[in-house]
């Protein structure tokens, strides 16, 4: 007989940590992006994805609103907006 023992990554969906956001979230302006990928690299959650210029985006299911992507963007193309403000669907 076995109890809870191991977990395979494919069976793990993760906690919906987007619900942690209370203050602000990142808004990708998609204007001056040079696709340097620093936002993707620096995100502690790994929830930024993208490849082409002005085409990077955040998975808000997991984004905790820490603001590191906005801080690192060399083109200031990411701004932190109030979490209360309406989110535009892309």
């Amino acid at each position: 007989m076995f109890g809870p023992l191991t977990v395979k990554p494919k069976n793990s969906k993760g906690d919906k940590t987007g619900s942690w956001r209370t203050l602000s979230r990142p808004n990708y302006l998609h204007q001056n992006c040079i696709a340097c990928r620093m936002c993707l690299m620096i995100c502690p959650e790994g929830c930024v994805s993208g490849k082409e210029k002005n085409a990077f985006s955040v998975d808000y299911t997991f984004c905790k609103g820490c603001g590191l992507c906005a801080d690192i963007c060399p083109k200031k193309d990411i701004e932190m907006v109030s979490e209360e403000s309406k989110r535009e669907e892309s």
Partner: protein, 294 residues
């Protein structure tokens, strides 16, 4: 990287956690053909709470002080199975599990020459249990077991020179890195993985909760530690320094004022001078000062 993430979203690290950034960069640099042995600590707890796991690679947690020994066993088994040449082995943990309770096991692993990369995520205290001081807590830091009071300005001992201790073992590669310099960290991990034998990388990782700074300040704080000379970035190969990041040194006060754990020093020039001495000694010892261009 996105299609098959090796460190997935949905873990429960604090927002803006430097260790989460570094851990993701390390495994992405090492690649999918990697097995990780992880010590008890923040990283282990926030990434593997049953029934969730953030890890897309084979991963094992045993105890607090034995990840280096567990990794040694994994490496030995891989050699026995004929798979070591195609599989990387990483042992990782925080500063407490590395420099204090796990020092012996790592020393043994290095001495035996296992082909393993050990990564230490240095947030300079036992963060997971509530910000208690470790051997790597810097001088004059306020922690819960080295608290500031009438009789004390915080942790009164110098930071344990763990990279030098491991470099003294004569291993092929020892490096310090910082979550504030992510590309440099990635480069160092890739370089280490390409070397056969024992390797050590110590990554400075800000902790918004333990260091008392805003979640979005991880990068400036980490960079300032390097730019003051308080956290030198260097590489040792076989016990000899072969590279260092040179800086135009900034006064340590620039770093101290960014974090609540040092706020007791700000009106204390005598103590600030002592911290400046630590930085100045590093700058001299590692030849960190960028010479002015003529």
């Amino acid at each position: 990287m996105e299609n098959n993430p090796l460190f997935k979203s949905g873990h429960t690290a604090c927002a803006g956690c430097g260790q989460a950034v570094a851990a993701r960069l390390v495994i992405e640099a090492a690649g999918a053909n990697t097995i990780i042995a992880n010590s008890t600590g923040c990283l282990e707890v926030f990434s593997t709470k049953y029934p969730e796991t953030a890890w897309g690679v084979p991963w094992i947690h045993s105890l607090f002080e034995n990840s280096a020994a567990v990794a040694s066993g994994i490496e030995a088994a891989l050699i026995y199975l004929g798979k070591k040449d195609t599989t990387n082995v990483i042992a990782q943990g925080g500063d407490g599990s590395t420099g204090d309770i796990g020092l012996q096991a790592i020393s043994g692993m290095l001495e035996r020459g296992h082909d393993i990369l050990y990564v230490c995520y240095d947030n300079e205290a036992y963060m997971n249990t509530g910000v208690q001081r470790s051997g790597l807590t810097p001088f004059d830091t306020n922690t819960t077991t080295s608290p500031v009071g009438a009789l004390s300005s915080g942790n009164l001992r110098p930071k344990k020179p763990v990279p030098e201790i491991f470099a003294a073992h004569g291993i092929p590669y020892v490096a310090t890195a910082s979550a504030g310099f992510p590309q440099d960290l990635t480069r160092k991990v890739k370089k280490a993985i390409s070397i056969k034998g024992p390797k050590y990388i110590q990554v400075h990782v800000p902790c918004p909760l333990g260091w008392r700074h805003e979640s979005n300040q991880m990068l400036p704080v980490a960079r300032m530690a390097v730019e003051t000379g308080l956290y030198p970035l260097f590489e040792y190969e076989f016990g000899v320094i072969t590279a260092r990041k040179q800086i135009m040194p900034k006064p340590v006060e620039e770093y101290l004022k960014m974090q609540g754990r040092f706020k007791h020093l700000l009106n204390n020039p005598g103590e600030i001078k002592k911290v400046q001495d630590v930085a100045d000694n590093n700058i001299k010892k590692y030849n960190l000062k960028l010479e002015a261009q003529g």
